[in-house]
Amino acid sequence: MYTQALNTAEADDRGLEDAARAAQFQVRIDAEERIEPNDWMPAAYRKTLTRQISQHAHSEIVGMLPEGNWITRAPTLRRKAALLAKVQDECGHGLYLYAAAETLGSSREELVDAMLAGKAKYSSIFNYPTLTWADIGTIGWLVDGAAIMNQIPLCRCSYGPYARAMIRVCKEESFHQRQGYEIMLTLCRGSDEQKATAQDALNRWWWPVLMMFGPPDATSQHSDTSTRWKIKRFSNDELRQKFVDATVPQAQYLGLTIPDPGMTQDADGHWRYSEIDWTEFKQVLAGNGPCNRDRMAARRKAHAEGAWVREAAAAYAAKRAQRQTAQAAE
């Protein structure tokens, strides 16, 4: 999902740890105890979570860009206010997540710098462009819908600060999906032209959204450890299937066609989708998606242009502190 790059294999350094402590740690995990920042944890657990939570945070922050693009062009004041609130929520989610990641020992500044340097990933989905207003509806409905599917189990993640951040995020995310679906519904009940933009947006977003859940289980090597540590509760394919099953009836209600002619419903009611083009996914993750360069450039520009604000705030705080010390001395 927001941490797709984690699905690549990583050395498991369990052997290097104090075996007794690691065993005790696993007992706590198996007993569904929450792990808190100052508790002992295997180095690999700390590393995996730092990467996962910071990538999730980066995704929230970069995720503001495709939608922010439409704030000034929203069709009504109601839509504009809602979109502004949604983008502000994404920023808040990024901040909760950075705070959760920091409890593992890296500072937010280090994490942000890693992203700006291109060393840390964010979700592949935000490297696609938002060409029409219907894309904003589709993002809310599908991208946020997929995010909710992924985040609800994370509310029970073994790491306390991450689980607590996810609870806050999930509470707010439901509005995002509903406002997106409402946009789609309005377009689908509008003129033929409007409905066509809704279908076009669905056609472009469908496959990238399915890719959000990450590589198929058969090729995802990281999942085993994450599952054992109860960071991950469901596999990529399980979550993807849940999402598809929930989404197909919603598309039918809108009168839209899922752009997968091979899709069939099996005897158990599950919607079986066709093979996903994983070459595209790998390309986007490698930095070659339609908007990767734009997104990174926009983040770097915002960070650089905000430097004077950070400096001014720090200088002001230092001056005030100095004055207080001087006054106290008098």
């Binding site: 100052n38 609130a85 502000q88 950070r310 705030a313 720090a314 002001y316």
Partner: protein, 95 residues
């Protein structure tokens, strides 16, 4: 150039009159005034609070989770501190 660190603050919010302030999370801000404003923007976008406290994270002294056994042991063994330890005949009624 590496971005310089901004101080960390812990945020406590009282949601309704009569309830205590509760820890909701943390944030970065250069001073207390900015920390309060950021806390409002980050943690109370949907009317979650009537009052906010921000405390520099460095000002918090925490107990060591590794020593929680020893720390809380005195409370473990004193069941006579709980009302159900005492027997009151049923005829006496609710007490």
């Amino acid at each position: 150039m590496a971005t310089p660190n901004t101080p960390l603050w812990e945020v406590f919010i009282r949601s309704r009159n009569g309830l205590a302030h509760k820890h909701v999370g943390s944030l970065h801000a250069s001073d207390a005034t900015m920390a309060l404003q950021a806390a409002r923007d980050i943690y109370t976008r949907r009317g979650e609070g009537l009052s906010i406290w921000v405390v520099p994270s460095s000002a918090i002294t925490a107990s060591d989770p590794a020593e929680k056994g020893m720390m809380f042991e005195p409370a473990e063994s004193k069941i006579y501190r709980h009302p159900t330890f005492y027997e009151v005949p049923e005829e006496v009624g609710h007490m």
